[in-house]
C-alpha cells in the first residue's frame, strides 16, 4: 500500500531505506572476552582490548560469527564465505581505539529478502542489501559532573549487526512493519533481543521523496530513532519537511539529521561537506574471515521455524486468516501457546479465544503471556467444554474470568459452581411452561404476529436456568409450545 502524500504541486511518493543496528546475543564481546550483560556498573565490563591499551589485539568471537550467519540465513540472505574486517577511523572519547572495527567492502552477509505484513492484510517483500558485523562504541555521560564528561566503556566492543535494507519501503506503516518483522525474526533466531528501549536495537532511517515513479530524490539520514512509534513519527515529520522545501522551490540537502523525540522533529547533525572521511582499510590485526559450506549448513540445521513459515503453516494447517495468523506468530511463545491450545480443538475457535479473550485480558492487565494465570492446557480444557456442549459460550466467558482470577482448570470451576449446561428436556420444559404461564400478554402478542418477542421468551428461560439451559433445546421447546 504505497502511501502517496498530497502536496500543493501534486502527489509525492516516499522512499525509505533502513539501517538497523542489532546487538548480537552473546556472552562476550566481538573481539574480547569481557561480558556483555546489560545494566552493570559503569566500566565494570571492560577488558584491556576494549579500553584500547597499547599493544592489545582483537580476537574474533566465533560464536558471534555463527550468530551473524544464522541471522543471514533467517533473512533469506546469501552468506559470504570470505568477509573482511576493516577499520573505520574517527576520533571520539567513547571510541577508545580511535577506530571502529567494522565490515565495509566485504560483509559477512549479502543480499536477501523478508516479507512484511501490512495493516490492510497484504504482504510485501523488502530487499535486504547486506548484514555486517561491527563493534559498538562506549557511552559518553554528560550528566555526572558540571564541567566534565565521563565515558562508560561497558558497551565498547559489543558485537553489533548492521542490517541494511533496500530502499523498498514506501511509507511510515511499511517502515513500522519492516522494523517489527525484523525484530520478530531476530527474536525467533535468538540472535538479538530486539529491546529498543535498552538500545540493543537501533534504527537509522534514510528518507527521500519523489514524484511517483520519478527519479530518486536527495535523501536525509535520520539517526537516533529508537522505537517503532518514533520511526513513524520521524518519517511523517521528515516527509513533510522535504516536500515543503521542494515545493517552495528549494533543494533537500544530503545530510545526517537527528530525531528529537521530545520536540518531535528532526534537526541537522552534519552536512555532506562535514561528513567524515573514515579512511577505511582492512584491519591488519585480523585475517579475512572464512566461513565454510559445512559451517553454514550446520548452522542452518539449528534454525527454528521462522515467522513467515509459521504464518503460512497456520493459515494452511489451521485455516486461519492472514490477520489471525500474523497476530499469533508475532511472538514465538504466543505461537507455541496457540498451538498447544489448538492441537486437539477447533483451531479457529482456539484462535478466537487466544486472540480476543486471552490476549485481550492480558493486555488490559498489562501482563505478558508468560505471566498468564491461564495455562495453555487449561484454556484448551475450556474450549473442549464448549465444543462438547458441557457449557455454553456465554457461561464459558464467566468461567474464563474465573480461571484468570484463580488459575483453576475450567472443568473444576464448572463442577464447583454447577455451571453444566442443562440439556434435560424435562427440566427445561418445566421452565418453558413456567415462563409461558407468567407472560400471557406476550404469548398473545407473539401469537398475534409479533415474532420478535421470541427472543424475549428465550431470554426469560435462560435467566431462570441461570444460563445453563442448552439454547438449542430451549429454542426447540419454545417453538413447539408457542406454536
Amino acid at each position: 500500500m504505497a502511501q502517496l502524500i498530497q502536496g500543493e504541486t501534486g502527489e509525492w511518493e516516499i522512499v525509505i531505506g533502513m539501517e538497523v543496528h542489532a546487538q548480537v546475543i552473546a556472552k562476550s564481546k566481538l573481539f574480547s572476552g569481557a561480558s556483555t550483560q546489560f545494566g552493570a556498573e559503569p566500566n565494570s565490563q571492560v577488558s584491556l582490548v576494549d579500553a584500547a591499551m597499547p599493544g592489545m589485539l582483537p580476537v574474533l568471537n566465533k560464536f558471534v560469527v555463527e550468530q551473524a550467519v544464522k541471522t543471514g540465513l533467517g533473512l533469506n540472505s546469501k552468506i559470504n564465505k570470505v568477509s573482511v574486517f576493516e577499520r573505520k577511523n574517527y576520533f571520539y572519547p567513547d571510541l577508545p581505539q580511535g577506530y571502529q572495527i567494522s565490515q565495509y567492502e566485504y560483509p559477512i552477509v549479502g543480499e536477501g529478502v523478508i516479507e512484511i505484513d501490512l495493516p490492510d492484510g497484504t504482504v510485501k517483500e523488502i530487499g535486504i542489501t547486506r548484514l555486517h558485523l561491527e563493534q559498538d562504541a562506549g557511552k559518553s555521560l554528560h550528566d555526572q559532573h558540571p564541567t566534565k564528561s565521563f565515558v562508560d566503556l561497558n558497551r565498547s566492543g559489543c558485537a553489533l549487526m548492521e542490517i541494511v535494507s533496500e530502499p523498498d519501503i514506501r511509507g511510515p506503516e511499511e517502515a513500522a512493519a519492516y522494523l517489527s518483522k525484523l525484530r520478530m525474526i531476530l527474536r525467533y533466531l535468538g540472535t538479538c533481543d530486539g529491546n529498543m528501549e535498552e538500545g540493543s536495537m537501533r534504527a537509522d532511517v534514510n528518507i527521500s521523496v519523489r514524484k511517483p515513479g520519478g527519479p530518486l530524490g536527495t535523501r536525509a539520514e535520520i539517526k537516533n530513532v529508537n522505537s517503532v512509534k518514533a520511526v513513524q513519527q520521524a518519517i511523517d515529520y521528515e516527509v513533510q519537511r522535504q516536500i515543503e522545501i521542494i515545493e517552495d522551490g528549494g533543494e533537500v540537502d544530503q545530510e545526517t539529521r537527528l530525531w528529537d523525540p521530545n520536540k518531535s522533529e528532526t534537526r541537522s547533525m552534519r552536512s555532506k561537506e562535514e561528513a567524515h572521511d573514515y579512511r577505511y582499510f582492512p584491519d591488519p590485526d585480523l585475517l579475512p574471515l572464512h566461513v565454510s559450506n559445512d559451517q553454514i549448513e550446520s548452522i542452518r540445521t539449528t534454525l527454528p521455524e521462522l515467522p513467515d513459515q509459521k504464518k503460512h503453516r497456520f493459515m494452511d494447517d489451521y485455516g486461519l486468516s492472514l490477520y489471525d495468523a500474523s497476530v499469533l506468530i508475532a511472538e514465538q511463545q504466543r505461537a507455541q501457546y496457540y498451538e498447544d491450545v489448538a492441537n486437539d480443538n477447533d483451531a479457529k475457535l482456539a484462535a478466537n479465544w487466544v486472540i480476543n479473550e486471552l490476549l485481550g485480558i492480558l493486555n488490559k492487565n498489562e501482563k505478558k503471556l508468560s505471566e498468564s494465570p491461564i495455562t495453555a492446557e487449561n484454556l484448551s480444557g475450556l474450549i473442549k467444554l464448549i465444543s462438547d456442549g458441557t457449557i455454553s459460550g456465554k457461561i464459558a466467558k464467566d468461567v474464563f474470568a474465573d480461571m484468570y482470577d484463580t488459575g483453576k482448570a475450567a472443568a473444576d470451576i464448572v463442577e464447583e459452581k454447577g455451571l453444566k449446561q442443562v440439556t434435560d428436556t424435562g427440566a427445561i420444559e418445566a421452565i418453558v411452561d413456567e415462563v409461558i404461564a407468567e407472560n400471557p400478554d406476550n404469548v398473545e402478542a407473539y401469537k398475534g404476529g409479533k415474532d420478535k418477542l421470541f427472543g424475549f421468551f428465550v431470554g426469560q428461560v435462560m435467566k431462570k436456568s441461570q444460563g445453563k439451559a442448552n439454547p438449542a433445546v430451549v429454542n426447540e421447546l419454545l417453538k413447539k409450545k408457542l406454536g
Binding site: L48, A51, A52, M53, P54, G55, M56, L57, P58, V59, L60, R87, N89, F91, P93, P96, Q97, G98, Y99, V151, D277, R279, Y280, F281, D283, P284, D285, L286, L287
Partner: protein
C-alpha cells in the same frame, strides 16, 4: 675467569649450570656495566631491582635443577614491549608515565624461560626511525666511534637494544623489526639479530607501529645466542590472531655448518649505484665464504625490489596513523593541560605528545588512506607488496636462502641525514623487502669498513625456515671471525 659481561649466552648458561658463578653475580656484573655506560643512553628505565630479584629466583631454580632455557640471562627489553608494573613509553612523551597492567607475550615467554630483565631499552619513538634520534628520551649513542671519536648513531629503531648488547651491558635484547629495525642496528653495532617469519613471535603486548609489518625478534652477539633467544621468545599465541599455530623448531640444532647441496641466491637488484665499494666487496666475500663451505652461489633477480621502499612508506604510515589514534589523551598517557574543547584536547595532546617523525608519518598515513587517494596509494602499495612476495617465492623455487648486505652504509654520525627524511628512509632499502614479504632475515657482523666500523651481511630465508637462516648465518659468522669490539668496551677494558 673471563669478564662475565663478555660471555656469550651459550657460555653463560654453561657457567651457571656448572655453578662457576651465580645468576645474581651475572646480574650484578651487568647492572654495573649498565650504570657505567649511561652515557650511551641505551635505557629509558633501568630495573636493577627486578633483575636482582629475578636472578635470585633463577639461582633457586639452578639449585633445584629445574632451570629454564635462558635461566639467569640478563637482557634488555625494548621499551615497546609492555611490562606489568614498569613504565612503557615507546620512547614517546605521549606515553610518559604509562605503567601497563600486563606483560607482552614475548616478554612473558622470556621470563618463563628464566631471563632477567635489566631495563627498558631506548628506541626511536614508536619504532619510527633508523638512527635512534627520534626518541623523546634522547639519542642513543653507538658504543662504536669514528677514529676521531665522533658519536655515531646505533641505528634504529632498536638502537638502545643493539647498543646495550654491543657495549656488553646485556647479553641479549628484545627488539622489533618493521622495516629493518633489528637488522640495521645489528649491522651498525657489530652484533647479530634476526627478524623471524611474520607470525612466529606474538605481537600481543607490543606497542603497535605497523601491525602487518611489525616483527618482534632478538638481538645478541652471536648467531647461536640469537637462536637461543628466539627459541624462548617464539610460539603460538591465541591472543594474536596473526600468530601462527606452528611448532617452534630447535634453532641452535639447525646450526650444523653443513652447506653441501645448498643454493644461495645473490639478487642483482641489491647492488645499488653509489653504494660504498667496501660493502659490495664484503658481500662478494660473504658469497665466497659460503661457496668455500660447500654452497652453490646462484645469481637471482628480485625484480620488484626498487618498489619496496615506496610501498613500505605507504603501508607502514597508513597502519601507524590508525594504530596511533588511541593516543588521544582520554584514557592514559599525556593529556594537554590547556585545551578548552574536545577537538582542542585531541590536537594539543597529540601535538605535544608525538615527536616530529611520528607526526610526519601519521600525516602521510592519513593522507594515503583518505578518500580519492586510497586506490592510488594504499591499494597500489598492497599490490606491490604481493609482487615482492611473489619475487621471493619464485626465487625460493631455486635457492634455499639469499645473501645481501644489511644496510647501504655503516653507522653514521648523529645529526647526519636529519635534514632529509628520504635519505634517512634509504637506510631500510635492503631490509624492508623481508618485512613486506614476511620472510625471515638475519644480520650477521662480517667485517669492518675503512673507518673501523662494523658492517653486516643479511641472510634471507623462506617463510617458517629460520633454521636455514641460522645455519647460513652460523657459517658466515664462523668464516668472518668478527671479534672487533667497540671502542667503548675496549677503553673500559684498558
Amino acid at each position: 675467569m673471563t669478564e662475565l659481561t663478555h660471555l656469550t649466552i651459550e657460555d653463560a648458561l654453561k657457567g651457571l649450570k656448572n655453578k662457576d658463578f651465580s645468576a645474581k653475580e651475572l646480574a650484578e656484573a651487568h647492572i654495573e656495566a649498565m650504570e657505567g655506560a649511561r652515557d650511551l643512553n641505551a635505557f629509558i628505565v633501568e630495573t636493577p631491582e627486578i633483575a636482582l630479584k629475578q636472578a635470585e629466583e633463577s639461582d633457586k631454580r639452578y639449585a633445584s635443577g629445574d632451570e629454564g632455557l635462558l635461566d639467569g640471562i640478563p637482557f634488555a627489553n625494548k621499551d615497546l614491549f609492555c611490562t606489568e608494573g614498569t613504565q612503557t613509553t615507546a620512547a614517546s612523551k605521549i606515553l610518559e608515565g604509562f605503567v601497563p597492567q600486563y606483560t607482552s607475550t614475548v616478554g612473558q615467554n622470556l621470563a618463563d624461560a628464566g631471563a632477567v630483565m635489566l631495563g627498558k631499552a631506548n628506541l626511536d619513538q614508536f619504532a619510527m626511525g633508523s638512527s635512534n634520534t627520534t626518541s623523546a628520551f634522547g639519542n642513543v649513542i653507538n658504543p662504536w666511534k669514528t677514529s676521531d671519536g665522533k658519536d655515531l648513531v646505533p641505528g634504529g629503531s632498536s638502537g638502545g637494544s643493539a647498543a646495550a648488547v654491543a657495549a656488553r651491558i646485556s647479553m641479549g635484547a628484545t627488539a622489533t623489526d618493521t622495516g629493518g629495525s633489528i637488522r640495521q642496528p645489528a649491522s651498525f653495532c657489530g652484533i647479530s639479530g634476526i627478524k623471524p617469519t611474520y607470525g612466529r613471535c606474538s605481537r600481543w603486548g607490543v606497542v603497535a607501529f605497523s601491525s602487518s609489518l611489525d616483527h618482534p625478534g632478538p638481538l645478541a652477539r652471536t648467531v647461536k645466542d640469537n637462536a637461543l633467544m628466539l627459541q624462548a621468545m617464539a610460539g603460538y599465541d591465541p591472543k594474536d590472531s596473526t600468530s601462527a599455530n606452528k611448532p617452534v623448531p630447535d634453532y641452535a640444532a639447525a646450526m650444523t655448518g653443513d652447506m653441501k647441496g645448498m643454493k644461495i641466491g645473490i639478487p642483482k637488484e641489491y647492488r645499488l649505484d653509489g653504494m660504498p665499494e667496501e660493502i659490495g666487496k664484503l658481500w662478494d666475500q660473504g658469497a665466497q665464504w659460503l661457496k668455500e663451505a660447500g654452497a652453490e652461489i646462484v645469481d637471482i633477480s628480485l625484480p620488484h625490489t626498487k618498489y619496496a621502499l615506496p610501498a613500505y612508506y605507504i603501508i607502514a604510515p597508513a597502519e601507524a596513523s590508525s594504530n596511533l589514534a588511541r593516543y588521544d589523551g582520554v584514557k592514559y598517557g599525556h593529556r594537554s593541560k590547556d585545551a578548552e574543547t574536545l577537538a582542542d584536547m585531541y590536537a594539543k595532546t597529540r601535538a605535544e605528545g608525538f615527536g616530529d617523525e611520528v607526526q610526519r608519518r601519521i600525516m602521510i598515513g592519513a593522507y594515503v588512506l583518505s578518500a580519492g587517494y586510497y586506490d592510488a596509494y594504499y591499494i597500489k602499495a598492497q599490490k606491490i607488496r604481493r609482487l615482492i612476495l611473489n619475487d621471493f617465492e619464485k626465487a625460493y623455487e631455486t635457492v634455499d636462502a639469499i645473501l645481501t648486505p644489511t644496510a647501504p652504509s655503516a653507522a653514521f654520525p648523529i645529526g647526519e641525514n636529519e635534514d632529509d627524511p628520504i635519505k634517512m628512509y634509504l637506510n631500510d632499502v635492503f631490509t624492508v623487502t623481508a618485512n613486506l614479504a614476511g620472510v625471515p632475515g638475519m644480520s650477521v657482523p662480517a667485517g669492518l669498513d675503512a673507518n673501523g666500523l662494523p658492517l653486516g651481511l643479511q641472510i634471507l630465508g623462506k617463510a617458517w625456515d629460520e633454521e636455514t637462516v641460522f645455519k647460513v648465518g652460523g657459517v658466515i659468522e664462523e668464516a668472518a671471525q668478527f671479534n672487533a669490539m667497540p671502542q667503548k668496551v675496549m677503553s673500559k677494558a684498558a
